[in-house]
Amino acid sequence: MKRTIINLCLTAFFSVCLTGCSNDFLDLEPTDSLLEDEVFESYVTASSALIGVYDQLGSPVFEGLYNPIMGDIMGEDLMINSVDNWNWFVEVYQMNMLPNYSYVDNPWRAGYKLIYDTNKIIDNAAFIPDATAEEADRLEGEARVLRAYAMLRLARMYSPAYSKDPDAPSILLNTDSETTENAFERASLREVYAQIESDLLIAVNQLSEQGDKGFFDKRSARAVLARVYLDMQQWDKARDMAKLAYKGLSLMTIGQMYEGFHTRNAETIFAIAYTREDNNVYLSLPSFYWPVGGYSSMRANNDFVNIFSNADARKNFFLRIDEIDPDRHLIVKFGHNAQVGNAERISIRAAEMLLIEAECETELGNFTAAQDALYLVQRRSNPGVLKSVATGQELLEEVLLERRKELFGEGFRWYDIKRRQLPFVRTGDHWAVLSFMASDPDYYRLTFPIPQSEIDANEALDNSDQNTGY
């Protein structure tokens, strides 16, 4: 009997042991994320993945804050305050960068994450079972513009100017979502720009004009292309693209301009569509610019302020308020919309396209066309201004000066200096004084180092691949 009981127990025990549990018991999936295979099984999820790329674009360490701020403080017109600023961007303004700084690492990582996300969409869009051809084209086209936009930004930051040496090493080129090889050489600027151009040309064909300027469309793809050709000094192509990009748009009025650049308007070609609920709050452009409500640590150089004529409405973007800063000019170009950080970031607008047109026409010797385009921009801020009659180099300098006046704070100056190989001269009330010519060794400061983390992790790179000067 006892034996029987023991046997019974043993049998029961082993039956529990050996049958065990079904496989489901060991295959669990998260409730708050999707398996990657599922994303491109429907148009709805694939579209959400595209939305995610725009969100990545608007990251504060990329186009949301870092890139536009650094695009100006790596220049002569604006500066970051040295006090009451929690040390934000100080080393960038001092142009004293090291390869391990987060200002160097973060935009690089954020940019490539964006590129990876777009690669996934571009490689999979055509195979989404329930997407129509137009839907697939839209997904792929927008992803291509986003990829080109990010690559152009990275190429400008981390490599010397295309105009200086198109064969200089530039950024990494990965357009394949399947690759797992942890080794990417630095492609030449020529290869990188060819990739960007090709993406944009395909996208222009795939996309149509959209009403919602928070998303890339045919028009904004052309606008980005105009920037690309401008870098490449292909003046005629840049002009054509710029003209197509602003065609049919009107410039905002000076009244709209004073509203604080926080909401898209008639002139907008592309804006990062932050919403009241979804924005970077303190890590936003208005937080750093607007005198109250955020970091408010951007200041304008007094010499720059003095360039503006008193009749120029844009001169009112500068303010002196002793209680806030007894020493320097505050900037009231970028404002909050009722709440800290609530502001769309207008990234591409018609005035820039007009100025591209003016620059290209000058280079092409079509001075009248250049003067006309320049006048359209100038007249908005100063209705009484006389149309320029300058030609040649003089006209070119006028156009470039107008770019400074019109686009300051929008993140252009750094690349404009580099693109045109201009001398870098800080005068006035700058607290970190630097001056050098294109031929000086110090010109390396206008190119960021390749992040140390990249050199360390990437099997194809070592320290000898670092940019000169670092």
């Binding site: 018991f25 708050d32 994303v39 999820t45 939305i51 100080v90 004293n96 990417f184």
Partner: protein
């Protein structure tokens, strides 16, 4: 699951129809020395299968084939007795107590073992060490008690748990924390919920023979927590009450006062102007004009307090001189009250406790309160079935301001706000304008902001034990471990983090549910000279972690943090994260002649955490013990009482790899323009599996001169397939991917000596010493070298090896910083000297540079100590007891981030400085280690370098306690069975050269403005009814 429940029910009803038929019936009564009846005594016929158990009154009845057999009477805590029947039918027996055997039983994996027969490396820490220590969590009391066990409390936040590592760091990036097992069931939540006074003993399982039975969770060792149980006999009620004060563990390095800081800032401005090419006079004027702006406040009564050289004009009144440390730190009060009830009969035993612990903290806004209740019950239903229930209930409430480098960290604020900044303005309101952390006055925020956390915990473990026969035992255990945590952070609308959004509250509620079912069948057989035991078992467990969080901004009513008061809701979140495991385990033990002890175990674990291609892992171990002194050929030596050799080898795993780490995932929340978005968050790795550890251990135990106990252990732990976030090129989209590609080795030795100084009727004194040394070496990595911030991971190096530029001092000519070029270092491939290199003017003979980027990084020692251990001393004379525990750690390095922040050389102009910074280079102070001070300094002198690496060796008197038992005649007059008064002090003094508050910092050797440790002195009373 269902199946297991059915199985359980079958067992429950089995016992009812238990029958047996034999020829001769023997009856009798079993009692102890004092004449008390002994229920539950095992009676076995020698050499047969017949057995019986005494009933509640100690009577038994057994049927045997004839009258010439022998009966074996055994009972835990009693000496086993063999009685020949000699044809009697009435056999009464008296069992005598066996203190020795009782003492040597230790709780081990899935059961108990005698110390003698145990083949693994394990240490037991008894309750005397853990009880009545003024610490919130028991693991802090373990520091220095056990060799090989490293305990490091990196924060003085009350209620925070310590980092515990057994035998080095076993993992590169997965958690190296040990597995905690509470009363036989692995824990799923924090150990700080446990009341240390409920603990009877703690067993630390160190090698594979000891821990391998826990399989894929055992790689970093196992800590078994065994709580108190009731004891048969009269009910005992004891009340302990303890009250103490705590303060910051040390003063730390001195910070500048307001005058020093004001003068120093003036000098920085003056130097800045000179560096920018100004004349002396212009530089003076510039400094005078700007000093107030950079300091933030003029702490003096006059408009121009400084003379032309930037020194305070003598006689000037100082109006503001805030010691921000005094503002942020306070004296804490520690209270600890425990009520225990213990008792029962031999059939039913009960232990019940209520505990209250409160530590008001030494930092503004930080405190911890815990209420605990423990009930352990066991009941023998009949001679073969025993059931029991261990429950733990607790509630704790913590206020904990954030740590880290944010403005809201009060500890950081105390260090960086300069002394010229007042706490209150002239109207007695908080002043918010300091230049270091603008708008973050820590005193104000402590009043206005809230960081409140609550935990409710219930652990319920039930067991059913079926004694099927003397040889077979079956045990089913089922346990639930549930923690409900809620957290509320409130930023006030006016100042600090909440100002921009007019106040913000974020709340989160988590529900962490762990469950566990195990069925263990054991067969054991003792013959004349041998003992054989087989264990077979099955276990299933899982854990579900659910989170719900929400937040609002825009508060209309101040000081009301609940969500309802905010006007604008933010994105809420919820998810459940789960993992499951199913396991099969077995163990075989064989002892021969009390001389040779063999054990072997195997366990298979299948886990949902592992990748599709690697679902199951197998882990095994072998152990051997040899009692050398029991050998015939060993001469009987008077001085050698005992010698035992142990060897073990085995494997185990580490499954702390995250719940879904093998899957390629897109995450939610990447919303844009009002549309919901998805974004890739993780790369897939279907091969992902547990980390494997192979460990070898050799141990030698000695008992000499009847006074000295010594044990020595040598081990080698090879971990392989280490989970490692392999850094990736940005071109692959992610910073890293999880791989199983690392390998690491920990080799080390441990020694523990315990010496009885004297042991007489009236006095006992013992002295103990232990030492542990561990060498950590990385054997394999995905990439040859991986620099990670302050460290370098590389093959052949230690996990926490510092790697940075080497500080060479200050150039006496110009006050600029110098670093050794170290051109021969492998940081850069070339060995050519940079243009900025020059010969060291301080005469080291090496080349230096003042351009930070031109210096190459170098290996600069490791954060892990070379050796560490403990010293303990106890002395008992009549009713007085003194016990001391000391801990030492030698050879570990620290990168002192906090000190670097206070030596910023002008890069953070408004932030306070250490007094050491007064020694900054000037043309009149050329030979110094502190570079020139200039506002917005661009020399990069405070960049990460060996300038801020320190030796963190220390010796600390961890605890000293003095207790006095009042004489029995006094206590009996008060109708008490015992009455004790005691004093217990934690961290009384520390011997160290380290500059910061506390050399006991995060295990990776970098400081991050955490709350320093505390020094606590308590007095207490213990009454036994």
């Amino acid at each position: 699951m269902k199946r297991q429940l059915h199985c359980l029910l079958v067992f429950l009803f089995l016992g009812v129809s238990y029958l047996h038929a034999q020829s001769l019936t023997i009856e009798g009564h079993v009692k102890d020395d004092n004449g008390g009846a002994l229920p539950g005594v095992n009676i076995v016929m020698e050499g047969g299968n017949q057995w019986a158990v005494t009933d509640m009154d100690g009577y038994y009845s057994i049927e045997v084939p004839d009258g010439n057999v022998k009966l074996v009477f055994s009972y835990i805590g009693m000496q086993t007795h063999v009685e020949a029947v000699n044809n009697r039918t009435l056999v009464d027996v008296v069992l005598t107590e066996s203190f020795e055997e009782l003492e040597s039983v230790i709780v081990v994996a899935y059961g108990t073992s005698t110390k003698e027969a145990y083949t693994g490396a394990a240490s037991v820490v008894e309750n005397e060490v853990i009880e009545n220590r003024p610490v919130s969590s028991f693991e802090k009391s373990l520091q220095g008690t056990t060799p090989g066990l490293m305990v490091s409390s990196s924060s003085g936040q009350p209620g925070a748990s310590a980092t515990v590592r057994i035998r080095g760091i076993g993992s590169l990036s997965a958690s190296s924390a040990p597995l905690y097992v509470l009363d036989g069931i692995p824990m799923s939540g924090s150990v700080t919920d446990i009341n240390p006074n409920d603990i009877e003993s703690v067993t630390v399982l160190k090698d594979a023979a000891a821990s391998s039975l826990y399989g894929s969770r055992a790689a970093n060792g196992v800590i078994l927590i065994n709580t108190k149980t009731g004891k048969a006999g009269s009910t005992r009620i004891s009340l302990t009450s303890q009250l103490g004060v705590s303060e910051r563990i040390s003063d730390g390095y001195a910070l500048m006062n307001s005058t020093q800081f004001y003068e120093h800032t003036w000098m920085g401005l003056y130097n800045q102007a000179l560096i920018n090419g100004a004349s002396n006079d212009d530089a003076r004027a510039y400094a005078h004009a700007n000093v107030r702006e950079f300091v933030g406040y003029n702490p003096f009564g006059v408009e121009n307090p400084l003379d032309t050289n930037g020194k305070l004009i003598s006689g000037t009144q100082v109006l503001t001189n805030t010691d921000w440390r005094d503002q942020v730190y306070k004296t804490g009060i520690t209270q600890n009250v425990n009520l225990n009830v213990s008792g029962g009969s031999d059939l039913t035993k009960v232990f019940m406790s209520l505990g209250y612990f409160r530590d008001s903290g030494i930092t503004l806004g930080s405190d911890f309160t815990r209420l605990t209740n423990k009930i352990n019950v066991s009941h023998k239903i009949n001679h073969f079935l025993e059931v029991g229930l261990n429950t733990h209930l607790s509630y704790s409430k913590t206020n904990a301001p954030p740590s880290g480098s944010g403005g809201a960290n009060p500890v950081r604020s105390a260090e960086v706000i300069n002394a010229a900044s007042p706490v209150y303005n002239e109207f007695g309101e908080f002043e918010w304008g300091n230049k270091a952390v603008f708008d973050f006055n820590p005193v104000g925020l402590a009043e206005l902001d809230k960081y409140r956390y609550e935990t409710k915990r219930a652990v319920v473990n039930a067991f059913f034990n079926f004694k099927l026969s003397p040889s077979f035992n079956f045990r089913t255990t089922a346990g639930i471990d549930n923690s409900l945590n809620s957290g509320l952070n409130y930023y006030n609308p006016e100042h600090g983090n909440g100002a921009g959004v007019n106040g913000r509250t974020t709340t989160s509620n988590t529900d962490n549910l762990g469950w566990n079912i195990s069925n263990i069948l054991t067969y054991s057989k003792r013959r004349d000279r041998s003992y054989f035991e087989v264990l077979l078992g099955q276990e299933a467990l899982g854990q579900d972690f659910a989170l719900l969080s929400a937040g609002v901004t825009d508060f209309a009513v101040p000081n009301h943090p609940e969500l309802v008061w905010g006007a604008k809701p933010e994105q809420p979140a919820s998810f459940v994260s789960s993992w499951n495991m199913v396991s099969y385990l077995s163990q075989i033990k064989f002892d021969y002649d009390d001389r040779y002890f063999l054990s072997t175990s195997a366990r298979a674990d299948g886990s949902s955490r592992f990748g599709r291609n690697n679902k199951y892992g197998l882990f095994y171990s072998f152990g051997l013990g040899w009692q050398i002194t029991r050998e015939q050929w060993m001469p009987e030596l008077a001085w050698l009482n005992n010698a035992k050799l142990r060897l073990s080898y085995g494997t185990s795993g580490n499954n702390n790899i995250g719940n879904y780490a093998s899957l390629g995932l897109y995450g939610s929340g990447a919303n844009y323009g009002g549309y919901p978005g998805l974004t890739p968050i993780q790369l897939a790795n279907e091969d992902l599996s547990w980390e494997k550890i192979q460990s070898f251990n050799a141990g030698f135990e000695l008992h000499l001169f009847s006074r000295l106990n010594a044990s020595f252990e040598f081990y080698n732990r090879n971990s392989d397939g280490l989970l490692f976030a392999k850094p990736l090129s940005a071109g692959l989209g992610f910073g890293s991917v999880l791989t199983n590609l690392g390998a690491m080795r920990n080799t080390g030795f441990e020694a523990a000596l315990n010496y009885t100084l004297f042991d007489s009727e009236t006095s006992v004194s013992t002295l103990g010493f232990n030492i542990s040394g561990n060498t950590n070496e990385i054997l394999e990595l995905t990439t040859e070298r991986i620099p990670t911030g302050t460290k370098l991971l590389e093959v052949g190096g230690s996990i926490y090896q510092f790697y940075m530029r080497e500080w060479a001092g200050v150039n006496p000519e110009n006050g600029r910083p110098m670093w050794y070029v170290n051109a021969e270092s492998d940081d850069r491939d070339t060995t050519t000297l940079p243009d900025t290199a020059y010969e060291d003017p301080l005469g080291s003979g090496k080349m230096v540079t003042s351009a930070y980027r031109d210096a190459e990084r170098k290996r600069l020692g490791t954060a892990l100590p070379k050796v560490f251990g403990g010293l303990n001393y106890s002395y008992q004379y009549k009713n007085l007891e003194i016990a001391m525990y000391a801990f030492y750690s030698l050879g570990g390095k620290v990168y002192n981030n906090d000190y670097a922040t206070n030596m910023h050389d002008g890069t953070q102009p408004g932030s306070n400085l250490a007094v050491d910074a007064l020694d900054a280079w000037t043309p009149n102070n050329r030979y110094t280690d502190v570079p020139r001070y200039s506002i917005n300094n661009m020399d990069e002198s405070n960049q990460m370098s060996s300038r801020f690496i320190e030796d963190a060796s220390y010796l600390r008197l961890k605890n000293i306690s003095v207790s006095y038992h009042f004489p029995d005649k006094w206590t009996s007059a008060l109708h008490l069975s015992s009455f004790k008064a005691f004093l217990s002090a934690e961290n009384l003094f520390t011997l160290t050269n380290y500059k910061g508050f506390d050399p006991e910092i995060a295990i990776n050797g970098t400081t991050s403005n955490t709350i320093p440790g505390t020094r606590v002195v308590t007095i207490g009373l213990k009454l036994d009814l």
